[in-house]
């Protein structure tokens, strides 16, 4: 398959993704009780577009299913039945199957045919029960049409070499003088609307040709150009031509009808079976110029208001197609003995396509105005640069002053450009969030719970890489919420809650970070059980005294699970710690709040981008280092009386009554050999906090500045360094290290914040 074909296929799959999103959005609107005509139409359009596209690529499975889906939706559209809860459920399920089929076509896992068949039957059921007059008839059409539905495999080779040897012939009179007995006569005349819709008479001709080939026959095509005006009057976007096609006798009327399935409203057509002698097709007036001549007549008309030299589609395409394709090179073009045979070969062709497919190229769609903004800013940058250049040539004092000014304006320009580029990379979280609908749907049907997931703030935009990396943690969290968070319907009713559980997934911007919350109205974290399990598993000593928050955080310990039994969904004790790691690796933090009986809320707080960081420049032992601002709580100067020296040589500082370890940065990073100086009086400290809220105070030499830094990997050319998460390049071109605060804090206070709790326990005893 040519690479052009691959490219087009890629675009098709991208569009499928968009259509599926559209479908999801529409269906969830329907399930929320909205029955706007426009919503139903949008849903219908989405399925229809997928079907149409899939047919062009010969993706049979997809087409067949989409067709049934579309039929059922048509019932909804025409008001034959109402979008009740059950109906929408079936549609949602069908949508899942459809998206799996799209995936399959893309080269993903094969879809379980039983699932497809099940959903298929359900859809047929809906339209069956819905169409109350002739339910059985509706069911049969469902069965018949997909089988007959003959996709038109098209080759998008830019140069239709396949058609090279077309012996096309405008010798009308003789050809249709000898149609075979009882052959099928198809006449059709496209309306202008057909071309306006982007369809083409060519597609119909190809469809008919394929039909003929399936029966080992040939077609005879006649173009009726009687309506064609002289070239001077020719309007390029009007349809002037009509065709007569004589199909071999073996072709059934139904299958010929199916070719016109999509265009029935946009063209007049008739399909008649007839004897050879009956009504020989009328001969087109011989004096009409044939299309080929139309072009030839061009020169003489030149001095007129010349019509566009590009002929109307109705003229251009027939030339390529006016006869049966003489065995072209593509495998699916070989005449198949039966529809089944041709379907099989085109599926095989499809498989070959997917196998040869290149790994998906990452691309994003960006609003044009964002690119324009960026362009404007770059334009300004060029101007600013020119200004600085000219100013730098001046030597007087005023010039110097202006230079400083224009450099500072350049600074703000740079910041603007950075924001603009970030905006280009930003993507709404909708894509991930909508995938979660399905996760919840599947998980709740597996656990036999009735759960509604409400999405809020799907339009919140975050960096593209973040969007992708959020999928796994969110899937884990939502499965957990379904499996552990929400109680069984019986328990809910017993607790005086509605049987239907609610989960809210929301996203919002908050002070330069994105906050994602997952809120369920379940039973809340059973702290007693969490505590007991933790003791049983030896995570904490039995006599530990933990605050509620500390107990909540225990669920993030590796291997921790309170589930009485391992289910398909969760309970294996992997998950929450993975979630925590994933979120932390994105520079995020997790917070939990849980009210027994009322539910649990998990909050992820994530940076907006992974490429740029707001940092505080500090220096320690002569090295300049960067500490992420997000982890700095406060900065202060030590008062010696607040410091308490521990026997092992380390120090603790009390800040407004909170004790925390003092970390001499230079010593911890082995940058200086001297141990902590005797007096800490008047040293500068930064109070920092890690994800779990544990604090420590870093002793630094000096706080230099607060700036934005670009994150650069240090591991790609070196190894991991303890206490260092990455590096950056400062204004003077030198390298500076970005500190890994959570590692530093963790090493200072031990693994989890249980040390003080032990002491509390001892004191309590």
């Amino acid at each position: 398959m040519s690479s052009d074909m691959d490219d087009i296929l890629q675009i098709f799959f991208q569009e499928c993704d968009e259509q599926l999103q559209e479908l999801e959005r529409g269906l969830s609107a329907l399930s929320d009780g909205e029955s706007e005509h426009e919503t139903v139409n949008a849903v219908f359009r989405a399925v229809h577009s997928i079907k149409g596209g899939a047919a062009s690529f010969g993706l049979d499975n997809l087409v067949r299913f989409a067709h049934v889906f579309e039929n059922s939706l048509d019932g909804l559209r025409s008001g034959r039945f109402a979008p009740t809860h059950d109906v929408v459920k079936v549609f949602l399920k069908a949508m899942d199957v459809l998206s799996d089929l799209v995936n399959e076509a893309r080269g993903g896992a094969t879809v379980d045919s039983a699932r497809v068949a099940e959903s298929h039957a359900e859809l047929a059921d809906i339209s069956g029960t819905g169409g109350n007059q002739n339910a059985s008839q509706a069911a049969t059409t469902e069965d018949v049409i997909p089988a007959d539905f003959s996709p038109v495999p098209m080759d998008f080779e830019p140069v239709p070499t396949d058609f090279e040897p077309v012996p096309f012939d405008f010798d009308f009179g003789e050809e249709e003088a000898t149609p075979a007995a009882a052959s099928l006569l198809v006449t059709f005349r496209p309306h202008d609307a057909l071309y306006e819709r982007g369809d083409d008479a060519r597609n119909i001709l190809i469809g008919l040709t394929d039909l003929a080939r399936e029966c080992d026959g040939e077609i005879q095509t006649t173009c009726d150009r009687s309506a064609l005006p002289p070239l001077t009057d020719l309007l390029p976007d009007k349809s002037y031509l009509s065709w007569q096609v004589v199909l071999p006798p073996a072709v059934s009327e139904d299958s010929a009808n199916a070719v016109f399935d999509w265009v029935s409203e946009d063209c007049d057509f008739s399909i008649v079976r007839e004897g050879a002698e009956a009504a020989a097709p009328q001969e087109p007036p011989a004096e009409q110029p044939e299309p080929a001549e139309v072009v030839a007549v061009m020169p003489p008309v030149e001095d007129h208001e010349a019509p566009p030299p590009a002929p109307a589609p109705s003229v251009a395409h027939p030339i390529q197609i006016l006869s049966p394709l003489p065995a072209p090179a593509t495998p699916d073009a070989h005449p198949g003995p039966s529809p089944a045979g041709s379907a099989a070969s085109s599926t095989a062709n499809g498989a070959a396509q997917t196998a040869a497919r290149k790994p998906e190229q990452a691309s994003i769609r960006v609003d044009l105005h964002r690119i324009d903004d960026l362009m404007d800013l770059v334009g300004e940058l060029v101007i600013a640069q020119a200004a600085i250049e000219s100013l730098s040539r001046r030597t007087d004092a005023a010039g110097q002053h202006e230079l400083v000014q224009s450099i500072s304006s350049m600074q703000s320009l740079t910041r603007d450009i950075q924001d603009a580029v970030m905006a280009v990379r930003a993507q709404p979280v909708r894509a991930v969030f909508q995938r979660m609908q399905r996760v919840v749907r599947e998980a709740s049907s597996m656990t036999h719970k009735d759960i509604v997931l409400t999405l809020e703030g799907e339009d919140t935009e975050v960096d593209r890489t973040l969007v992708e990396k959020l999928t796994d943690p969110l899937t884990h969290m939502l499965r957990n919420a379904v499996d552990h968070g929400i109680e069984s319907p019986e328990a809910r009713i017993a607790a005086g809650k509605p049987a239907e559980g609610h989960i809210v997934l929301s996203a919002e911007h908050r002070s330069g970070r994105i906050l994602i919350t997952i809120k369920d109205d379940g039973a809340g974290i059973n702290r007693q059980r969490v505590f007991e399990t933790a003791v049983k598993r030896g995570v904490i000593p039995a006599d530990a005294v933990l605050s509620d928050e500390e107990i909540n955080n225990l669920i993030f310990m590796p291997g921790f699970s309170t589930a009485a039994q391992v289910s398909n969904l969760s309970g294996r004790g992997v998950g929450m710690d993975v979630v925590k790691q994933a979120i932390q690796s994105l520079g995020g933090r997790i917070s939990i709040s849980s009210v027994p009986g009322k539910g649990t809320t998990f909050g992820f707080s994530l940076p907006l981008t992974l490429a740029i960081l707001d940092g505080m420049l500090i220096s320690a032992s002569g090295s300049t280092m960067v500490i992420p601002i997000s982890s700095v709580i406060e900065t202060m100067i030590v008062n010696q009386s607040d410091v308490y020296a521990l026997p092992d040589g380390s120090n603790v500082i009390s800040i407004r009554g909170d004790c925390m370890p003092l970390i001499p940065l230079a010593t911890v990073l082995k940058l200086s050999n001297s141990s902590t100086p005797d007096s800490l009086d008047a040293s500068v400290i930064l109070v920092v906090e890690n994800e779990s809220g544990a604090r420590a105070a870093l002793i630094v030499d000096e706080i230099r500045d607060q700036t934005q830094v670009v994150i650069k990997s240090i591991e790609s050319n070196y190894r991991q360094i303890f206490g260092v998460s990455a590096a950056t390049i400062l204004g003077d071109g030198s390298v500076s290290l970005i500190l890994d605060v959570s590692a530093l804090v963790a090493s200072a206070i031990g693994h989890i914040d249980i040390k003080p709790s032990n002491i509390r326990a001892e004191l309590a005893a």
Partner: protein, 156 residues
């Protein structure tokens, strides 16, 4: 390009172009195709927990890489006041870029790999010795040096 591939190719071509540099009084060489550029020695950023032979990190047009002081690495007294010290930026076969701080770059030499005499066991940083115009030149195994740089255990 690396020694290994160079050595393999050597069975066909025998001759490999090497860049020769000095560390202390000894001369060493590495295949010229593994060299990306040579630049002056500038101030490096000290890295915590770094082995003694790592000078620190520098910024090479947006890429952060470490500079290895080959003198320390090869147990030769470093010439800290030598103005001819330069950093040879090399790229290993798995794409790791690092700088080698050498005392001075001497010249280029076509080295016939058949003339290389093994002097130490496998895994050492020295791939052998070769005689060029009566000068003894050591073949430095780049992969060993870089491999050590990337995987050495971190001593906290």
């Amino acid at each position: 390009m690396t020694e290994q591939t160079e050595l393999k190719e050597a069975t066909d071509t025998k001759i490999v172009k090497m860049i020769v540099f000095a560390i202390g009084v000894q001369e060493y060489c590495i295949p010229i195709l593994s060299v990306r550029e040579i630049r002056g020695f500038e101030k490096t950023t000290t890295l915590p927990f770094a082995p003694p032979y790592v000078c620190g990190a520098i910024n090479l047009r947006g890429i952060i890489l470490t500079v290895v002081d080959l003198a320390v690495y090869l147990n030769v007294p470093p010439q800290t006041d030598n103005p001819r010290r330069v950093v040879v930026i090399v790229e290993s076969k798995n794409g790791v870029v690092c700088g080698l701080l050498v005392d001075r770059v001497i010249d280029m030499a076509d080295i016939n790999l058949n003339d290389v005499q093994a002097v130490s066991e496998d895994g050492s940083c020295l791939g052998g010795l070769v005689l060029v115009d009566n000068r003894m030149i050591g073949l430095l195994r780049l992969e060993t040096v870089v491999g050590q740089l990337v995987t050495d255990t971190i001593s906290e």
